[in-house]
Structures are given as C-alpha cells and as structure tokens.
Symmetry: C2
Subunit: 385 residues, 2 copies
C-alpha cells in the first residue's frame, strides 16, 4: 500500500508519455490532514536539480500539502526554463487542490538535461490527471510511476499501536550517500509536529539511506520526504516512532540495494571496533567504492588484499598489521596477513557479508553496496541512448 | 634502452618462476657511479607493502646503489616473514655488489598477500642471477621483468646537451594518485646532488604520475625512484633538467594510461579557470573517478550531466549554472544547460578530450583517466584466480 497505508493520504500514478516505454511516469501524494506536517532531506551534491532547489524552500516552514514526482526526466541543468517548469508544477497542483504553491514539493528523476517544452506540458498534464485519480488505494500506482531503471517498485509499511508508517522509493543507479540517490516518500498518520518530524527523518536516514553506497555516484535529484497527517489521532512514544521509521527506511534501503543496476551481489560491509562511528563509516564507504574490490566480488574472489588497500586510503585510525577481515563467515585475513585460504569462501550467494575488525575502539557501522559487473557497465554505458 | 640509456648504469631482467606465465619476473638496476644519488616517492596508502617500508628507510640518506624489483607477488600483508624477505633481498644484493644493504631499494608488484617461502627463495635466486647478467644493454630486459598485466613494456628516454634521462614503468591497474599505482625507475647521468634529486623528482611526479587516475584505486606498492650516476660529468641547467625529467615522467604516464586494464578510451580531462590548481585537480579527479561518467564514455555517450554531477560532489569553487563542458571539441553544455546535441560528439576515437571551464579563476590542471569497460570488470574479477 506504500504511501496510502497510513490514514489521511491519497495518491495516484498516471502515464503522460515522459518515458519512451509508455509506463506510468507522474505520481501525486496528497496529505488530507488534519496535520499538514512535512520534512525532507536532500542530496548534498552542490549541483542540484530544479525540483531540489524548489523543494528546499517549500519545506522550510514544515508544512507540506502534497508532493508531485515525475520519472522520465531529471529537470536538472535545464536553466531558468526548467526552474519555471518546477514552479508551474507546484502552482498548478496548488490551484487544483486549493492550497498554497509554497506547500507543494516537487521531485524529478531521469536523464540530466531533460526538461524542454514537451517535458513541461506532459508534467503539467500529469498533475491534472494525477489529481483527478487520487485515491486511498493509490499508493501502489504512485510507487510504480516513480520507477526509472528499477526492475520493481519499492514499498514498505510498518504498523504499531494504532498508527502506521508507509513509504515508497525509487532508485537503481547513482546510489551514493548524501543521500544515496533516490526519491523516497514516507507518510504517517501518527501525530508528530514539524520539528520532531525533521529530527526523526534525519536520524532515520543517517543510518539507512545515507549508508547505501551502490556505485559511489551522488545524484543531483535525491530527496527523501516525510509527510505527517496525524489522522490516527495518536501521539506515539518517541522511541517507538523512531524505531518504526528506521525500520521503514532500512527496509526501503535494502530494496534499493537489491535492485541496483546490473548488480549480482548485495554486499553488507560491517566495520567493527573503530575509533568512532564516523571512522567506521569512512572505512566501510572506502571499501564500498573500491572498483577492484567490487569487481573481485563479482568474480566470486575473496580478495581481502583489496579490502586492506582500500582501508589504507582513509584517515581512520587503524593498524594495517592488526586488522582482521571475514568474508561470509571465513576469516581470510588475520592481523594483516593471510589466514584461511580465499578458496574456502563461498561467494556464489547474492548476499555477501564482509566483516572488518579494526581492533581500535568501540564503534561500528554497516554500509550496503553492490558489486561491479558487466551488466552495470552495460546499463550505464547505454542509459541515455 | 630505458634505465641503461644514461651512462653509469647496468641492468638485467631474469626469469625465476614467480609468474605462472613463465615470463621474466626479477629486474636489477645498478648505479656504477661516480655519484650514487637516489630519491624516491612512495604510495600515500597507509597500508604499505614490505618493500615500501624498507625502501622509505633505505632512501632517506639520499644514497642508492641499486634497486631490485620483482613482479609475480606484492609481498604486502605477508607479516614479519614478508618483511624479512625484503630485508634478505637487500642484504643478498648488497653482499654480491660489495655495498651496504641500506643503499639497496626493493620493489614488488603482484597479488597482495603473496610472499611465502617459495616466493622468497625465488626472489633471492633472481637477485643472484640478475646480478650475474647485469649489462649496459639490460634496460629492455629489466623493463620487461617488471610487467604484470601490462600488455607492453613502458620505456622513455630524453637526451639533452651531453646528458640523458631514461626510465621504465609498469602499471596497468590500481592506477590512482598518491601515486598512480606503478613501479617506475628513472636513471640519469647528469650531475645532481641528493637534495636536488628529491626536489626534481617530487616536482615532476606531481604533475604526471600523480595526475593519472585510471580507476581511483590506490595501490600498496607504488614507488617511483630516480637514480643519479653523474657519469656524464655534466651539471645541467636546472630548468632544462626539470623539463626533461617532466617529459620522461609524462611520457611514461601516458604509456601507463594507454595500457590500462580493459580500457577502450584514454580520457584527458582538462579543467580551466579554477580558483586554484588544487581545486582544478579536485574537479578533474572527481570526474575521473565517476563510474557513471566512465561507463558513458565507454558507450560513446557524451553524457555531460554526469560531469556536472561529479563536479557537484567537490568542495571546489564553482557555479553549476555557469559551467561549460566540451567533449572532443564540441560544447555540449553551456552555462550549466544543454548546448550542442550530444549526438554531435564523435567518441569513437580512443583519445577523448573533456574540457571543463569553471569560469572562476586562473588555474588549470589536466587529469588522465580511462573509461569503465566490460574488459576492466572482467580482468579485475579474474585477476587473482
């Protein structure tokens, strides 16, 4: 049910021809209240798409009435014409819903540089038709309309004592933190005020979407939005809400990882006994971004030397001659030297676990990534053509 | 002629079975003086191979009598046994040459974690046979003995007014700065003292090997060594020597780029009008390391959006909406928006030029890189097996 699992939300997904495949390409999610609370986190890429520039301003007051998302074009580096397109998208949505344009968020995904007059007219048509088709059952259609190279839609729902959090996500490439490249909309009928919504969302993304690093490439269009209707009338326990939101975010993160372009392994890199959580993240991310390591995993090769070489490029505190590395439960490197033969590691399963024990401190972190495959190269060499 | 082009040097390359292919695998280069000046720069990877740890100490006094290099095993993360192997390599070389072990440099390349008793005995055998076969014509044989996945040996020679600089290099993967992963030996018969040798070498590598970034992966075994015999008896003009050394380094860098594992494009990324040279390098390197950009070039796709997305991940001063991007002479992006159609760019030649005009300041830099191909993935998924 995705974004309409929680009470107080309607959604839709329609097809207006933005994608050459003829698949659904515009999604609308509307908050019917009573609360109209919204929070969002955005790509940290300094090259930001027009919808990001717009949405950052629109969400600043913590009020969000609706969000419009399109696939089939990123509306990034499309000049002032592109920004006007985003502005008109918000204005048309607001006009049809009878609310303020400043309370409408916009997201776009697809090829950078796409955002001409045809794009604009089709997005605006999508707004009109999407609003016509809004429904309390529209969550599935919305989740399908935001797909790009995704092979399946990503949805997640968690329900607790009378309140619900539901979400949808898209993303299959350019998955790297700050955020992992993606569009995500999460809704809840719990009663949460805007400052808490922002804090909960930042905390949950920090240990989920921000730790998914499929290919080290940071997008221009990332946005994770939380919309709060309060329709359940229930004010949840803070810890319970935080945990449930984290669960939805992590579930969606893992769905994104599992559907990453061309990947043949979902790699979970766990870094333990680091001096700090930041250093654990730095180490895990450095390994996750190492093409030689990623290609080795594709080749079912437990090449732990590439793990150590990647750790060595970080500023994290560690002793190269006191590091242990485990792959799928086999310790292949002990104290910076060879341990069990790499041939003992079975890397044929898609799920791959790498454990790095730095033996320095008490902090740990987990990074999710993928291998580097022929199919990744193929998909990303042919994407725009 | 490589390292024996300059007067005062002998070299050899022998086969002792370190490589399963049965190709030459140990090289020796000896400085017969009269000067015995040496300087070296090393990988900045904090995970350093045993030969690096040894050579950093040995070169510290600026005196180098000889260098021994082996392929077929990196002797990295091989514990204290591996360090003793390096130590014994230097001692045996010194004993046979009648010099001090502290004036012998050692380099190894090959698979990390390789350095067992068989490895040790073969390297030591290589020292003995290599010294037996030292010759003033041995430069070619030496350059062939250091190859790993290289498809051809890399050699370069520049001669000026009575003095010569010659060099050899190996490297085909893990090519990323600090240094670009490689073993390089450069010799000269010019008269240069040790402090100047060090300064000249650092200056030349900074704008050559350090700006080659084939795959973003930094090695554990990089070493670039300069050996000075002074046998020409000529003290060159400082600027002339610096220019000639830079020419040799850049020539070898381009040979490394041209032979990078699996690459189908040699990409030259020129960043102009940056606020500083460091920022120009940061921008160029960020683009060079972006897998989506690299895969697009493989697919002959002038996907300038991925260039801008990569620039946006840097801290360099720039305005995303005032950047121009040219590919092979075609301006595909003007002021952060689409310019000429990407289809107008012919990316079928192996040589690919990307020009990024930041329009901020007066500094520029050039980064050499390669595309991301099926063959890169293939070679690096199968390397150790």
């Amino acid at each position: 049910m995705s974004v309409t699992a929680a009470q107080g939300f309607t959604a839709s997904g329609v097809t207006v021809g933005l994608k050459s495949t003829g698949k659904p390409d515009v999604a609308v999610v509307v908050n019917d209240g009573p609360l109209k609370v919204g929070a969002a986190v955005f790509t940290s890429n300094r090259a930001k798409a027009n919808p990001i520039i717009w949405s950052q301003q629109a969400v600043a007051d913590g009020v969000v009435e609706a969000i419009v998302l399109n696939s089939g074009g990123a509306n990034c580096f499309t000049g002032s014409f592109g920004f006007q397109t985003t502005h008109q998208t918000a204005e048309k949505t607001a006009s049809l819903l009878g609310v303020s344009p400043g309370d409408i968020l916009v997201c776009s995904t697809g090829l950078i540089g796409t955002g001409d007059e045809i794009f604009r007219s089709r997005v605006l048509e999508g707004v009109a038709r999407g609003i016509e088709q809004l429904s309390v059952d529209g969550g599935v259609a919305a989740s399908e309309a935001i797909m790009t190279t995704d092979s399946k839609a990503k949805r997640s729902v968690v329900s607790r004592d009378g309140w619900t959090i539901g979400g949808m996500a898209k993303g299959a490439g350019m998955l790297a933190p700050g955020l992992a490249t993606m569009l995500v909309v999460i809704t809840t009928d719990a009663v949460i005020d805007s400052s808490n919504a922002d804090a909960y969302l930042r905390a949950a993304t920090r240990t989920s979407f921000d730790r998914l690093d499929s290919d080290g490439c940071m997008s221009t269009n990332d946005q994770v939005t939380l919309m709060v209707s309060g329709a359940s009338g229930i004010s949840p326990d803070a810890d319970a809400f935080a945990a449930a939101l984290a669960e939805v975010c992590l579930d969606l993160s893992k769905q994104l990882q599992a559907d990453a372009e061309g990947a043949s392994h979902n790699i979970t890199i766990r870094v333990e006994h680091a001096a700090s959580e930041d250093e654990a993240v730095e180490v895990g991310r450095s390994v996750a971004r190492n093409n030689l390591f990623k290609a080795a995993i594709f080749g079912n090769d437990a090449n732990w030397g590439r793990v150590l070489a990647a750790i060595g490029t970080t500023d994290a505190e560690f002793d190269p001659y006191n590091v242990d590395v485990w792959m799928n439960g086999v310790r292949v490197c002990a104290e910076g030297g060879p341990d069990r033969p790499r041939e003992d590691v079975d890397l044929t399963p898609r799920a791959t676990d790498v454990l790095i024990d730095l033996k320095i401190g008490d902090s740990s972190a987990t990074i999710l990534t993928n291998d580097l495959t022929h199919d990744y190269v193929h998909e990303n060499s042919a994407y725009s053509s």
